[in-house]
């Protein structure tokens, strides 16, 4: 990049869009008083800004809104249903545990009762490198046994679930995080949620 050390080239776009802090703005204005080249550059940037703003893009408008509301309702409905499979599974566990408990009380030496929480998997927060390809991400997730839950959020964070790992298996979790972060070309951040 050819920077002219005595000219505030880098700041001119933000002088033009009016967002420079006071100190920087004053420095630029002082410089412009005596630099014709930078004044011309400012004029060019002002023209560019005007043209960019005039280039209106349209929008799906009301159609987009209807689509959004329909899908948001569907999501809300699906979210209300999330507990049904979990409740069904929990009911099965309770029945089994009750049966086992009854048997345990009857024959304490013969039965090993079920124990521990139902395996729900562990959730990781991950950020991917901007240039990581879909194939790379898919391969890495398959290798580590992780699946997408949702994302990206505002900070580019995805939430992944480790299906075959329980919350108490710290070493296994750390191993997966290590495998993910070892591929710095694909993953820039990984941590347990």
């Amino acid at each position: 990049m050819n920077k002219r050390p005595d000219h505030p080239d880098e700041l001119l776009p933000w002088y033009v869009n009016g967002t420079l802090a006071n100190g920087e703005r004053q420095d630029v204005e002082t410089h412009l008083q005596s630099c014709e080249r930078c004044r011309q550059e400012v004029a060019w940037l002002q023209n560019l800004r005007t043209q960019v703003k005039d280039d209106t893009a349209g929008s799906p408008g009301e159609l987009g809104l209807h689509r959004l509301l329909r899908e948001a309702k569907a999501q809300k409905s699906a979210a209300r249903q999330w507990w049904r499979p979990a409740l069904a599974a929990a009911a099965v566990v309770i029945v089994i545990q009750s049966a086992v408990l009854i048997n345990f009380l009857n024959r304490p030496a013969a039965i090993t009762p079920l124990g521990g929480p139902a395996a729900e998997g562990v959730v990781l927060q991950v950020k991917f490198a901007p240039n990581a390809t879909e194939a790379q991400i898919r391969e890495l997730l398959q290798k580590t046994g992780a699946t997408f839950i949702d994302g990206p959020g505002a900070l580019g964070v995805y939430r992944l679930r480790l299906e075959d790992v329980t919350a108490t298996q710290d070493q296994a979790i750390q191993r997966v995080i290590g495998e993910l972060t070892a591929r710095r070309d694909i993953v820039t951040y990984a941590a347990r949620e």
Binding site: W14, Q40, R49, D55, A57, S59, L69, A72, D150
Partner: protein, 202 residues
């Protein structure tokens, strides 16, 4: 600036209501931001259908994640940050080579001539064509700086990159645009170094 702050306070309020599951707030949030999110997506994806899909995904993500908005950034920065990552996802799915940073082998012009400076955007179609020829990273910076009038700190936050990278990309984008516009405008005349510059009028 005060008006912008008022708008942002309203948006923050909408996000709080959305976090509580208020669909009317979602409707208002869409009305407030759909144009800007769509424009951001369209400029980068250059496909209206893809841009509409991204808009929908961004709004759904905002609906799901409203509770996570902590107010540390402006609502616009937050929602454009979501949009940025959804767009990257879309480009990744398309295996778009335009994700790659252009390697601007820009010859060092120690003294940019007035020809460079005055190869201005006289024609909107020419400008659109030249903007579409930039890499995604460059288009992003130009759009956020000149369509959204965002400060470079906010752009860095949205694009998730250092401040220096924002400024460098803008510098290269300007240089690439000028070269492109000069190439499309053969009647542009170099400035007379002794006098007033001559401007080509189309």
């Amino acid at each position: 600036m005060q008006e912008a702050e008022a708008i942002d306070n309203d948006a923050a309020g909408l996000l709080r209501r959305m976090a509580a599951g208020n669909e009317a707030a979602l409707r208002e949030f869409y009305q407030a931001f759909h144009g800007r999110v769509y424009a951001f997506a369209l400029r980068r994806l250059r496909n209206p259908a893809d841009a509409a899909d991204v808009l929908n995904e961004v709004m759904l993500e905002a609906w799901r994640s409203a509770a996570r908005f902590e107010g540390r950034s402006q609502a616009l920065t937050w929602v454009l940050g979501i949009a940025h990552h959804k767009i990257i996802d879309n480009l990744r799915r398309q295996k778009s080579h335009l994700l790659d940073e252009l390697d601007p082998e820009i010859a060092d012009d120690d003294n940019p001539t007035a020809f460079d400076v005055l190869a201005g955007a006289q024609d909107a179609a020419q400008l659109r064509r030249c903007l579409d020829g930039l890499s995604d990273a460059h288009r992003l910076i130009v759009h956020l700086a000149f369509f959204e009038d965002l400060a470079y700190e906010e752009i860095a936050r949205i694009a998730d990159c250092p401040l220096g990278t924002v400024k460098t990309r803008m510098f290269h984008a300007r240089r690439l645009l000028k070269r492109c516009l000069a190439g499309l405008n053969p009647r542009a005349v170099p400035a007379d170094p002794e006098g007033s510059p001559q401007i080509s009028h189309e």
